[in-house]
């Protein structure tokens, strides 16, 4: 490592002096992909610490200088629980004993349930209603119980048998501790990376977020300009809404025909099951059909009577009234789930944006001085609904590539990274799966029934057959009229919501027949209470607001205000002036505002800016 002082800020009114630091490898974001990368790298070094390939070029005589910066306040904070086949993870840890990782357990029993609507408020098509009527009529014959129909057979591509139920927070903590104990790598939480350092077509490192600034980012008490960390290789693993990955896409472009067109907001609760629970650890349920036909759900049972229960609200829901938290509360009260969850306690809660574009959203995987890994590199398989194992494996592939380049004495250039990292990835099961899944979900553009048929078609033919669809940008998905309401009724509701300080989407769900939530103070609590349970949301002072609105005039004319309805933490609320107002202290950094704003299409750039910020949920059970 070497360091120095730099520099005049381009475009700044006053020159800002920034410290600089030279390292060999700078990493943005610590998740499963970065875990795979750093595990692979540190293992190779541990096998032979005197290997000259691992000598630093920036600090001669020292081992490779590898720094990883993570936005969240802790490696275990505020990430999600998953079920994964764990093929790549087990390849890295052949002797893996799930008991070593808190909340981990092997998958024991899987079910796929189609949930009927016991409420009568779900937006179901005529076809679906007809199918529901048939199912109800044949209920006893088909074994329908608690308004749920268990699919008697599910195709192999949906199964996770042999896999693991994990808390990614605990898994990250477990991996991070091992990586850091090697002594080669430093992982710094609570340190957001604001942007990549780009020169021409090359990435030269990263810039850390300024500290000691006001909400607008202007220097205030204790100002400390974010350091420029210059690196031979920048590894980008900051996820689909990460500031570094998005800035690279904006400045260096994306491959022809590629775009992130589909998203979902995953929101879940960690629930302590009642003492008499019959759900065994390792139980996995996948559900669809309720609370809306487009919303998929899940229930995973961890050891010690803990369960992760959640839903995915997709960008193609086709309705701007889409508050995930209220939908989640209706979901857990579905009789099929409520039978097991009633009398449980909410331990924690969390949310995250998922890039559901798969390979179509894949950016340039590498270039001069940089490589992309994990979900932000388009590795998630949307046919199998699997992302963690794929992300881990892309990290391993980059790790192997970097070791090869170090040993061959080659630079981290576009050509050498393409020949090593990209070649490995293209030849792997991750790529094969991504190609099979590429068009698997196209059918959902034509409704849930068509979507399920499309997925089955792609899954059963290995992607050779699929339905065609033209997918619009995500902000267009939610610009559709508000279902079942005429403009006059909508205007009345909007006015009443504004006067009552209540979000419009909440009022809309009630108007459509969704019952009000009867809070019990244990499992059914207000969203504000959920923010304060099991880890609580935090925002350290001294950082700028990371969500900003470019043109408030657009907000003033926007009736739907999906930024408010989709905000997981109610951090964007309707201000007294009728405009969306952001409260950093409530933000869980899910990034849903980034892809939900229907005003984005009105100008050449995204209307809502989602930048790197500190804080978020402290929950370690997620």
């Amino acid at each position: 490592m070497s360091s120095g002082m730099n520099m005049k800020e381009a475009g700044a009114a006053e020159p800002i002096e920034r410290m600089t630091m030279e390292v060999d490898i700078a990493c943005a974001g610590f998740g499963p992909a970065m875990g795979g990368f750093l595990t692979t790298l540190t293992r190779a070094w541990n096998e032979n610490p005197t290997d000259p390939a691992f000598e630093s070029k920036t600090a001669p005589g020292m081992p490779l200088q590898v720094l990883c910066y993570e936005r969240a306040d802790d490696l275990s904070a505020g990430v999600s629980g998953v079920v994964t086949r764990a093929k790549g993870i087990r390849a890295s840890f052949p002797e893996l004993n799930p008991a070593e990782i808190p909340m981990a357990v092997e998958v024991q029993k899987e079910r796929v349930l189609y949930l009927l609507d016991p409420v009568g408020a779900s937006r179901r098509s005529f076809t679906l209603r007809a199918a529901d009527a048939v199912l109800r009529r044949l209920g006893r014959t088909l074994g329908i119980r608690d308004h749920a129909f268990e699919l008697p057979w599910t195709p192999g591509f949906l199964h996770k048998q042999g896999g693991l139920v994990l808390s990614i927070g605990q898994f990250n903590q477990w991996v991070g501790a091992q990586v850091m104990a090697s002594g080669l790598v430093q992982i710094w939480p609570g340190t957001p990376v604001s942007q990549p350092l780009i020169a021409g077509k090359a990435v030269k490192g990263v810039r850390l977020a300024d500290q000691g600034v006001d909400k607008y980012g202007m220097p205030a008490d204790g100002f400390m300009a974010g350091m420029d960390v210059r690196a031979r290789l920048t590894v980008v693993g900051d996820g689909p809404v990460g500031a570094v990955g998005r800035a690279i896409d904006e400045q260096l472009g994306v491959p022809e025909g590629h775009a992130r067109l589909e998203w979902a907001l995953g929101m879940k609760m960690v629930i302590e099951l009642p003492e008499n629970s019959e759900l065994e650890p390792g139980t996995v349920w996948h559900t669809f059909g309720f609370p809306e036909p487009e919303i998929f759900g899940f229930l995973y049972v961890h050891p010690e009577r803990l369960a992760s229960v959640g839903i995915f609200v997709p960008s193609w829901l086709g309705d701007p009234s889409r508050t995930a938290y209220r939908y989640l509360q209706h979901y857990i009260q579905h009789p099929a789930l409520w039978r097991h969850l009633k009398d449980g306690n909410l331990r924690s809660w969390g949310a995250k944006s998922l890039d559901e574009s798969g390979r179509i959203g894949e950016p340039f995987l590498s270039g001069d001085g940089f490589a992309r890994i994990g979900e932000g590199s388009g590795s998630t398989n949307m046919l199998t609904g699997s992302g963690v194992d794929e992300a881990w494996t892309t990290g391993v592939q980059l790790g192997e590539a970097v070791i090869e380049l170090l040993r061959d004495g080659k630079p981290f250039s576009k050509e050498s990274l393409a020949a090593t990292y990209e070649t490995r990835r293209r030849a792997s099961w991750v790529e094969r799966g991504a190609r099979e899944a590429e068009n698997a979900r196209n059918g959902f553009r034509g409704g849930t029934v068509k979507g399920v048929i499309g997925m089955a078609l792609a899954g059963l033919t290995g992607g050779r057959l699929s339905l065609r669809a033209k997918i619009p940008p995500p902000q267009k998905h939610s610009a559709s009229p508000i279902a079942g309401l005429n403009p006059k009724k909508l205007a009345t509701l909007a006015q009443a919501a504004l006067a009552g300080g209540r979000p419009l989407h909440d009022a809309l769900l009630s108007a459509r027949g969704w019952p009000e939530i009867e809070f019990d103070g244990r499992l059914l609590v207000t969203q504000q209470d959920a923010l304060l349970m099991g880890g609580k949301v935090q925002a350290l002072p001294g950082f700028a607001d990371h969500v900003t609105f470019h043109d408030t005039q657009l907000c003033a004319t926007c009736i739907q205000k999906t930024c408010i309805s989709m905000c997981s933490g109610q951090a964007i609320k309707l201000g007294a002036d009728g405009l969306p107002a952001f409260e950093r202290e409530k933000c869980v950094h899910c990034g849903a505002c980034l892809w939900n704003c229907i005003q984005t299409g009105q100008s050449s750039r995204a209307h809502i800016d989602f930048r790197a910020g500190a804080g978020g949920l402290h929950s370690a059970e997620n």
Binding site: M227, V229, L540
Partner: protein, 270 residues
Amino acid sequence: MGNALHVVVCAGTVPDPLQTLEPITGPNGPGVKNEMMLPAVLDPWAASALYEAANLVARNPGSKVWLVSLGSKAKLQQVMMAVAQKVSFELVPIDGPIGGFTDAHATAAVLAEAIAALPGLNRERLLLFGGWESATRGAGVTLQLVGERLGIIDQFQGVDQIEFREDGSFEVLERVEGGKHQASVCMGTPAVLGWATGNLAEPRNNPQTGMANMRTIMPALQKAKPAALQADGLHYISVALPKQHRTTRIEKDMTPDAIARELVEWIGAE
């Protein structure tokens, strides 16, 4: 000022107070459920002491800060990644129990032994810092016991400020009742200061400070000696969280005045 100080900060790791802490009784007595699973932080009171120590050292050239911590090595490693970017210090880790409740006398003995053995420590110039309270299981006496074992007579608790004078004496502000401070003047080091919150903001994360600290922290962690705490017959019967009650109620028609009145009544009833 020409006061080259040797400041030793005793600081433990505790589960992040933002987590849901649940007391349990296991085979080894009372503890916190799933403590290993919960993220840990440097005890917030002791963290204030560390930041005050760093501030003091910065104003007194030739001074040095040691951070002595007894706890699980794995947790210490994790906590260091959150602390090491903030201020410069030398870590003295002692590999101890993960959690549970220990005898303050046994803890003090281990800490005092480690401090007495610090190479280069000038005990005449020593300021022993720590937290006045703890975010989880402070016995309220550990720091005093360490001081006594090291033979330090001048002890202050609930400290919010220390100001050195030219002659090496210093003034200390200790919290007393009524939101006031008691001002004391001490003729000089050595002394024990159990810190309240102090007056400093949490320092910003400085990557260079972190890099410099890690050069010594990781080797120190690898060499950390295990310490067995002697219970000496002490055992804890039960453990409980401070009383906490959450009541959620939706009120649509109450005026702000009525809400305020009800809150006042509720607080009064408590």
